[in-house]
Symmetry: C2
Subunit: 310 residues, 2 copies
């Protein structure tokens, strides 16, 4: 009946411990570096755990990932084998991602980066853009977050297409599935949004070949994982004009290093991995519920597939 | 069977004349300064006509305003009396306004101006904002455009309240009507959007009293008319922190003069009256249809009330 909690900062680890203690008074909840008896730990609650952090826990029933992705857990080369991984998703996280994607798609659609550059130069230039129904927006990844974002964009009025590994049906969205249809999905797309899970087959998928298939002057939004993007290919596509602008929320190394060229690039908007932040007061309720359900039934709806990678 | 067209620039006047000629081949369509016989003019199609521009047209049946507002027509002190004014509204214009309001409300909601200031300083600061359902957005004006924008924001998930002169019912939106409820409408509002018609009673409504009633640190978006805003009151409210940020699409004088302090204000976003632009290819179809309907029936759905002012 003990839980180990591990986040990259001790402040945040303590915040989560406190929230979970309030919700789960029958449980002993410890920061991972202050566990008195490793054998008593049956669950770990983690975001970017350090390598080998969970090796001492021989009685682990499940690992809770503090996010929709599990790539940050699988990155641990010494991860205990065959321990189920529970993803943390919920309406609050879906809501936040919908907002982020709607905001940044609209921002590129309405050419706000150019309008703001004009403001800086005191230039009044009435740029007329087509209305949303004439703008093709492509969503890569149609899991909980991707499907919700696609539906939101369709409600706003965009011409939305979606692409995923396995076939999906979403009201108001034209969907494509599998590698064979990836090119068709990209053809004519003007705003490309990445919400894919990070797996061996999606690593580096935002590359020169993908960019070249989009409509010239397209925009790219990456709110999935840093390694989906080949950084150098983006810089080159921005230089050539094939890509007009990009918004990036995720990076190969986070926080983004102070001297990274993305910070100062005039056509790249950097947001600090805030598209869909879990805060402890909201997230701890989802985590507590998932642990209780798993404890009682041996499973939960948001169980990840470690072999598939998401 | 003749129409006079008047826009502030001769290029745009000629563009509209050409579009209308294509759609109305039975009619003679002239730029207002090239009308051969003023008595033959039965309709004028105008945006910001100059004072007295329509005085020579003694047989005018109706004036077509190239926009949802008619304030720019009523501003003509020599306007022929008792000539009906037809507003130009349509799904395309409503769509564009919905997009603009969704974009700028989301931008303030997610604190993107601060995140972009952080980017300029290479600062990684993960600002956590509440989700949209916990954010109260107030829409002033619930005509075609205001009602559509309010509904769009409710679909995104915001807590939307609306205020108008006469009572309105909008799904998912709490509405208030009349002067007596204005304060209640403003209480707790964090993002205030102005989409009111410009009349004697709405002139200067975005003033210190209004700002002081909002939640401290609120944002203001004006996509209606420049004179709704008391410019100096906004500057002062931004200095005091009562208002955190503003987005302005409309101004007392347009284009905004090169040396206006709004251009360089770090907390004001200036967009050049593009929230809901009518372009000639789309707008001319609405205008042609309205003139034909008025010619056949003596009325149209989008007839304005000159006494009321909108």
């Amino acid at each position: 009946m003990s839980i180990a909690v591990s986040l990259p900062s001790s402040d945040k680890t303590e915040w989560w411990c406190q929230m979970l203690r309030d919700l789960m008074p029958d449980w002993n909840i410890y920061p991972i570096d202050k566990v008195p008896d490793p054998d008593a730990i049956t669950y770990s609650v983690v975001w970017r755990p350090s390598t080998g952090a969970m090796t001492p826990f021989r009685n682990l029933k499940a690992i809770v990932s503090l996010g929709a992705g599990i790539d940050h857990v699988l990155a641990d080369e010494k991860l205990p084998e065959d321990v189920p991984i529970i993803r943390t998703v919920g309406t609050d996280l879906t809501q936040r991602m919908k907002e982020y994607i709607a905001l940044h798609v609209l921002r590129h659609h309405r050419e706000l980066p150019q309008i703001q550059a004009n403001q800086a130069a005191h230039v009044w230039d009435q740029i007329i853009v087509p209305p949303a129904p004439e703008r093709r927006v492509g969503i890569m990844g149609l899991g909980n977050l991707g499907a919700a974002a696609a539906q939101m964009l369709a409600q706003i009025g965009f011409n939305v297409v979606g692409w995923s590994r396995s076939p999906k049906t979403i009201t108001g969205v034209t969907t494509y599935a599998g590698d064979a249809s990836f090119g068709t999905f990209l053809d004519g797309t003007e705003i490309l949004v990445c919400l894919l899970p990070l797996t061996d087959s999606t690593l580096g998928i935002l590359n020169a070949d993908t960019f070249n298939r989009l409509k010239r002057g397209a925009s790219v939004i990456n709110a999935a994982r840093g390694p989906h993007l080949v950084d150098r290919d983006l810089i080159e596509a921005l230089s050539s004009g094939q890509i007009a602008a990009a918004t990036l929320d995720v990076f190969h190394v986070e926080p983004l290093s102070k001297d990274h060229p993305f910070w100062g690039h005039p056509r790249i908007t950097v947001t600090p991995h805030v598209a869909s932040m879990i805060d402890a007061p909201t997230g701890s309720k989802i985590v507590a519920k998932n642990i209780r359900t798993f404890e009682e039934t041996g499973s939960v709806a948001d169980l990840a597939d470690a072999k598939r990678g998401y």
